[in-house]
Point group: C2
Chain length 350, copies 2
Amino acid sequence: MATTTVDVSGNGKTTMAEVARRAGVSSKSVSRVINKEPHISPSLVAMVEAAIAELNYVPDSAARSLAGSRSFTVVVAFDNPSPNYIMKVVNGAYRACVAHGYHMRFDTIDSQRGHSSCLDQLDAIIKNSRIDGIVLTPPLVDNPLVLDHLELHGIRFVRIAPVAGKGRSPSISIDDAAAAADIAQYLWDLGHRNIGFVNGPRTHGAAGKRRDGFLKRLCALDPHIEVQQADGAFLFDGGMEAGGKLLSSKRPPTAIFAANDDMAAGVIAACAQRQLAVPDDVSVVGFDDSWIATSVWPHLTTIYQPIEEMAAAAIEILLHRGAAGRPPEELVLNYRFVERASAAPYPASG
Amino acid sequence: MATTTVDVSGNGKTTMAEVARRAGVSSKSVSRVINKEPHISPSLVAMVEAAIAELNYVPDSAARSLAGSRSFTVVVAFDNPSPNYIMKVVNGAYRACVAHGYHMRFDTIDSQRGHSSCLDQLDAIIKNSRIDGIVLTPPLVDNPLVLDHLELHGIRFVRIAPVAGKGRSPSISIDDAAAAADIAQYLWDLGHRNIGFVNGPRTHGAAGKRRDGFLKRLCALDPHIEVQQADGAFLFDGGMEAGGKLLSSKRPPTAIFAANDDMAAGVIAACAQRQLAVPDDVSVVGFDDSWIATSVWPHLTTIYQPIEEMAAAAIEILLHRGAAGRPPEELVLNYRFVERASAAPYPASG
DNA sequence: GCAGAATTTGACAGCGCTGTCATTACAAAT
DNA sequence: ATTTGTAATGACAGCGCTGTCAAATTCTGC
């Protein structure tokens, strides 16, 4: 098909009735095609779709939600300390929503404030105005209370990077364990044999997967390896403190893998504080390829997660489920190892 | 057929007709009160408002936009490299929108791609579906083409931190010049006499204001002072490069003020590269108090801008204009000097 | 072949609100 | 007292779409 971009000159508010007239059918038939209702003939579909394309018709979501039962609104829920992560998710989800004529809301659920508060916040979101679905991000995705509550209220949801509750909802993730294993292998191949790990919060399932994948590969490489670990809560300060702990142990590691970039940046700061050069004295690797990965020196070697795509995919699944070809319930997207300058061979060779 | 009225406590499904019945008036009168139309008696207002409160009524925005001419959608437009800044604006604007039952869209306008492209992108936003207003953020706010275009199309807009085109729209800002002057004074009081400045992009008006305020105060303190400057484009790498330039001049400054935090972080990295300790050898001050301010070591001494409040205020002005007490057209919010650990007395005393 | 079922389409009535116009009430002007 | 004007309210018709129901059409099986 040629790229027939119909110009919007003067256009702007074509109605369903016009499309119907153009296609020589009733407006209800147009509605049926748009909503992919069952029992419509292929020829009807063809005619209507042609008319829609010719008139460059876009359904009015206000009218749709007034007449129908759907709100054309989905919400993206967060309980995450990193604005970089949130921003990417919001961006990806937002674009996908706009592309489908949906509205996107986003809300923060502070699960630190206890179970009941958490559910109250959830209630506020779902009762406020009936929503068509919700995208959950870590660490909300692994909170059984939240999942129970959503199921109880019959709210459809899609989860990004869940660890627990497999099968309770469609999900999008990357293979965190494999990515962490890649890092382990990378560091090993660089010659490092004394490697430290900075863990994320316990509530964050993906952090655990990264840890497991990392440790498992290291154990496979050397069953007797000892990996020193410290917790950093996914925050810069936590990473700095954890890095300090590792670096001042009796056997300081020559390489440290932090489960996210913020903590990796903190580890670099801890190195600087001790006059240790990165990567010459200590190699540091992060995870996420977030904004901060290139806002430290040296730029972080890290794992790129296609967060925007993941969020967009989550929206797609939320919106298209029940339609013709049902998309896979558990989508795993590709990560990418990003080699920058924060890790180097050991012992330093040049 | 039995309508299972799964009642929600109060909220949920009350219609305007119910409110009207409750108040003993016509539904149109309720509508008038809600929309603050002229020529309504105080007694009517009182009755209707009481009924609204008792029934916990919330107007349905889908129905409102279908029936009326408004879309209940505002857009926030960006052309900004910093996700931290965007995130804060989005957050503040979003909350304000939700509080008023409005939808928020946000879009990026890439003005690097030339004038016509820039206007095309703007057109796509305002033609897509008629919007009720637009919030402009720097550096879009000072782009005369954008302003002209918006005015031409009769789109109302509010600007955050504009420099040029005073009076062309309501605006929200902080006193960038005064804040920068505070920093100059602070550094001066610390004993620094050789001070460098890292500038933001030329297109970003506020960066210029910071520069001017900073320089002016320094000149007032010492008319013969020489301030070395470099450009950093508001980015980490740019700041690092600019810092490097300053630091390797024949007369390296003992203190550097960067026009935003990202560049300040870059300056710190440049110091580290040269084995210069911050703040002992070099003091560094940033601007914005963004996420990165506490994601570097030492944490940045900087200026806190109430970005979320500014964005929320922008939305308020956009939505309430024309209503009773018209808010001030040029709102100036307070900044706050945030003293952390990246600046110290010179010469170092302890 | 024909009753009964399933498929495919259209007519029509609202969804909850606002714009328009008609109507009332009452002050000011003639 | 009558006209004129304006403030204050209501009746009613849609906005653009979908749900319901009925009608037309095409299949089934026996």
